[in-house]
Amino acid sequence: MAIAVLVVGERVAGESPDVTFELLGRGRELADALSGELAVVVVNDLDEGAQFGIADVLYVVDGMDSASYSAPQWEAAIGAVIQRVSPQVVLVSTGTVGIDLAGALATKFNAPLASYVIDVTAQGDKLVVTSQLYGGKLLSEGEIDAFPAFVSVLPGSLPVEKGRAQGSPRVEHIDAGDQLRLSKGRGTELREPDTSGVDITSAALLVSVGRGIGSKENLELVAELAEAMKAPLSASRPVIDQGWLPKPHQVGKSGKKVKPTVYLAFGISGAPEHLEGMRSAETIIACNTDPSAPIFEVAHYGTTLDLFDLVPELTDIVGG
């Protein structure tokens, strides 16, 4: 049987990320609808085939250096597998590996690509994709009728448990040595996350602040509230990138995943990469002057008050 769907396993170190199982779960449905097999490819030989029981085939690319990551090498390796097995649909995530590979490979194979996808289904001989554009403010429903099709899914969009299954897919080793030798890059080092300083992952209450705070000086206002509440201060990415708070305070895709009892968000818009880190908080309370900010889609309580009006009142009540 032909390969209908190829899932790109994005594990670089540690365990396979959840998103790989999200892709496998949906990949199974797509493969069945397209009457073909579901395959998954991993680029370093690992002994976890058992986790991929939902797939029919596991392709292992031999000869990769598993102690590091290199975009050109991964592209060469996955490209070699696509070339060899001609899948109809390639599923990746809109995470680093996916952002590195999806556009490049789709261009190489002159194939369509849908990015930021939160839902994908097969309808007749078409794929229907829903993508989250403009930082989550608008959704786009689109169709793809040319194959192979590349689909890049935002992590956290699809059910994950469906994709985890015991079992033993057929294992095939693929030697991408020729392609790898030609690749113009090599990985040199993997750096583990910075675990110094504050641990925002174990707090029951987080006071979180976004770009709406405006400046480092203004941050003092929210820091006072956090202190009065005896809660750590966490933040969205721009606050970290501006150098207003150190990296261990960052919540989101490239920061920490948090699950406090209450997450208080001030001046955070709720971009998908931020939501990825906090959407499973038990209660989310958001303050944002923009009534159409996507954060209100996940928040349990919201207010469009100006944070500069609200925060001092909160500090007053709690501290006083």
Binding site: S70, D100, L113, Y134, M229, K256, K257, T261, D290, F296
Partner: protein, 255 residues
């Protein structure tokens, strides 16, 4: 060392976004356009490299609403040259695959060592520019870059791999990088400096004539997410709302 920074305009996400009449694009007549924030990080990284070595920096952008503002600001911040590409409809949505081909067509006549651009733009339905451009030019590329180190002819990049894990790798030059964050926050150009750039420097215009046909997703409709009715909105004065929030926290034993 010649660094090209590919920049672009994007709808300001802080503003209201309306969908146009046929329901497949934003209503561009009513949108405020600003420079893509990640392209600003790419520019900052290029200028930092220029500050520490003898690199020259060219900024290139497609003609789009208010793009002159972005290009003059880049010149004011220290870019050596600004190029505006024409030959497409400046008021329409130029999809990333086409954008890549237009920029590649410009780069075909340039000698360059490094192309820096933002990691993504919020309307990249067809994928992110760096990888697509790298593949179009057949040169190495890397995305979600948070560190760039140039020593002679070799390039070391650090990429965020999620969950705080960082991958460091070496790429051959020329290469394309999708920048997530520069070493420092983007520098600021005062209005006076931008005005000065407008008076003393010129934006070069180049026409790119190109028949672009890439397979792509056909957009059926663009729409705001249906309100899940999720958030209960708290109203009243700041004091009222603060009291309600504190009550919620107290009921959970948190304060």
């Amino acid at each position: 060392m010649h660094i090209v920074v590919a920049m672009r305009q994007l709808a300001d996400l802080v503003e209201e976004l309306e969908v146009n009449g046929d329901g497949t694009d934003i209503d561009r007549d009513f949108v405020k356009f600003v420079s893509n924030e990640w392209d600003e990080a790419a520019l900052e990284e290029a200028l930092t490299i220029k500050d520490e070595s003898a690199a020259s920096v060219t900024v290139v952008a497609l003609d789009e609403p208010d793009v002159d503002q972005t290009l003059y600001a880049a010149l004011a911040k220290g870019a050596d040259r600004a190029v505006k590409l024409t030959g497409h409809d400046p008021s329409a949505w130029v999809r990333t695959r086409e954008r890549a081909q237009r920029i590649a067509s410009f780069l075909a006549h340039e000698e360059f060592d490094l192309v820096l651009t933002g990691v993504q733009a919020a309307d990249d339905l067809d994928g992110q520019l760096a990888g697509i451009l790298g593949s179009t030019l057949d040169i190495p590329h890397a995305a979600v870059v948070v560190g760039v180190e140039l020593t002679g002819s070799s390039l070391r990049v650090a990429q965020e791999l999620g969950g705080g894990l960082v991958g460091v790798s070496e790429l051959e030059l020329p290469a394309v990088l999708g920048v997530q964050a520069a070493r420092q926050a983007p520098r600021y150009a005062s209005i006076t400096r931008i005005r000065q750039a407008m008076q003393t420097q010129k934006i070069e215009e180049q026409e790119v004539s190109l028949e672009v046909t890439t397979p792509q997703v056909t957009v059926r409709r663009l729409y705001p997410p249906e309100k899940q009715g999720g958030a209960t909105m708290l109203t009243g004065s700041a004091k009222d709302v603060a009291t309600e929030i504190v009550n919620i926290l107290r009921s959970k034993g948190l304060v």
